[in-house]
């Protein structure tokens, strides 16, 4: 009678995160600050993307000890990242009882051809996407939630904007197509036909769609919501800034009151130094995380 691990309950948790902010944390203390500030979930990591970028080398799943300590510290859902295609890291995270797995381009890919078959797991997955075809391929593999890739660890929202606009544009385009053109659209998008039909009929993704990759200010968070995001991931933007608690609270409020400029002006005041940003044009092609995965 009772069913666990169904797509309904995986999607259900994603639905409950909507309108919220998921914050990257590396210690139980940071996790508590995030919870106190109003985060709807935290992402447990060894290093935030800006530090991964700075350190170079191979970035892997976090030490289970760090993840378990963070799970103990807070009452909100805890997510963790596995490398693209690394289904063993995913199994380890699932066995820890994590609430959501991010198969993430922030870590160094373990497989340059295949992503994890996410249908095989009882834990829900979120994956990054730059366009509609990529989002639908991940959903086809079983992702219960997608997010823009943006360009992680840069504090520069431009790539998240590009990816969100791209996904929204392609959905509007699909919705206007006559039925006989949808198979060719699926071929062009490199996306599963059934999911293309679903998007064309409903005009939106069949799963929750967050923004991620460069959100650093309350205004960035509100911008992404106005462009159609269901919520925001904030990675380095909070704990690489001068006053994490104040900034975290402000980004939470900006995600809720995204269309109220008075609230946005109020919460944007006196937040101290934002994280130092990177102009995307200064990144060499191999430094871009968004091109990882297909």
């Amino acid at each position: 009678m009772e069913e666990k691990g169904s797509f309904v309950v995986k999607d259900g948790l994603a639905q409950m995160l909507k309108g919220g902010v998921i914050m990257d944390v590396t210690t139980p203390e940071q996790a508590k600050i995030a919870e106190e500030a109003g985060a709807c979930a935290v992402m447990a990591l060894e290093r935030v993307p800006a530090d991964i970028r700075a350190m170079g080398g191979v970035a892997r799943m976090a030490d289970p000890t760090i993840i378990l300590k963070i799970m103990d510290a807070v009452s909100i859902p805890v997510m963790a990242k596995c490398r693209i295609g690394h289904f063993v890291e995913a199994r380890i995270l699932e066995s820890l009882g994590i609430d959501f797995i991010d198969e993430s381009e922030v870590l160094t890919p373990a497989d340059e051809k295949y992503h994890v078959n996410k249908h095989d797991f009882k834990v829900p997955f979120v994956c990054g996407a730059r366009n509609l075809g990529e989002a639908l391929r991940r959903i086809g593999e079983g992702a219960a939630m997608v997010r823009t890739k943006g360009e992680p660890g840069t504090g520069n929202v431009v790539e998240a904007v590009r990816h969100m606009r791209q996904i929204m544009d392609e959905m509007r385009w699909l919705k206007g197509l006559p039925k006989e053109e949808l198979m060719t659209a699926a071929k062009d998008l490199q996306a599963p036909y059934e999911l293309v039909l679903n998007v064309a009929a409903r005009g939106c993704l069949p799963v929750v769609n967050f923004s991620a990759g460069g959100i650093a200010t309350p205004a960035d968070a509100a911008l992404m919501m106005q462009l159609g995001a269901d919520g925001n991931f904030v990675g380095s933007g909070i704990f690489k800034s001068g006053d994490p608690m104040a900034r975290a609270r402000a980004i939470v409020a900006a995600t809720t009151y995204f269309d109220d400029p008075k609230v946005l002006a109020e919460v944007s005041r006196d937040l101290g130094e934002p994280m130092y940003g990177i102009d995307i044009k200064t990144l060499a092609p191999e430094e871009k995380m968004q091109d990882r995965g297909w």
Partner: protein
């Protein structure tokens, strides 16, 4: 019945769009509410699922809590699901977090476990329906009731639905299913 009344859906965080859609499928009018003025204008209120700590922080920061408590005392029908149940509770053992404290219930958070223990099950709801699908996501349950609160549904011996006069609460998510039984029941309270 609801008639021309406006059902406010608290749109701070969580699955508020799904509640709005469910109310509209019942043929009633739903509106997202985010400010004190919005709450004053609504005839009834739904507090959706989401994260109770996130909603609590925003209810407190934007001083919406007082308005909801006042309206609740004046008899406004309020329906809370999952996080909404926690936000309505008078007691949340083990947690120091903001709640409205309007309903005579003690609620245990994440009581069925973490996400891997989230489940779907068929429920038997007293005098309403013996076949309602319940979707439970990191769900709470009611540990203890007092005063005028009555239990409407139990699952595995745990209270997952209760009513206290104008207040209705469930641990699960009727807004994530096609079944409108629970929303219709709430509309009948208005």
């Amino acid at each position: 019945m609801a008639g021309k009344k406006v059902i406010g859906v608290l749109a701070l965080q969580g699955a508020f769009r799904e509640h709005q859609a469910a109310i509209e499928r019942c043929g009633a009018t739903a509106k997202k509410v985010r400010t004190r003025e919005d709450i004053q204008k609504a005839d009834a209120l739904i507090i959706p699922g989401g994260e109770s700590t996130t909603m609590g922080r925003l209810l407190e920061s934007y001083d919406l809590g007082h308005t909801i408590v006042e309206r609740s005392r004046a008899g406004m029908p309020i329906f809370g699901t999952c996080a909404g149940m926690i936000v309505m509770a008078r007691e949340i053992p083990g947690y120091q977090q903001y709640s409205l404290g309007i309903m005579d219930i003690s609620v245990r958070r994440n009581a069925f476990g973490r996400q891997l223990d989230s489940f779907e099950a068929e429920l038997d709801i007293r005098n309403i329906s013996d076949r309602v699908k319940g979707v439970f996501i990191r769900a709470p349950f009611i540990d203890r009731i007092w005063g005028e609160t009555e239990v409407l549904c139990e699952y595995m011996g745990k209270t997952v639905m209760a009513r206290e006069n104008n207040l209705l609460t469930v641990s699960f998510h009727p807004e994530l299913t096609e079944d409108l039984t629970i929303h219709r029941y709430f509309l009948s309270m208005i």
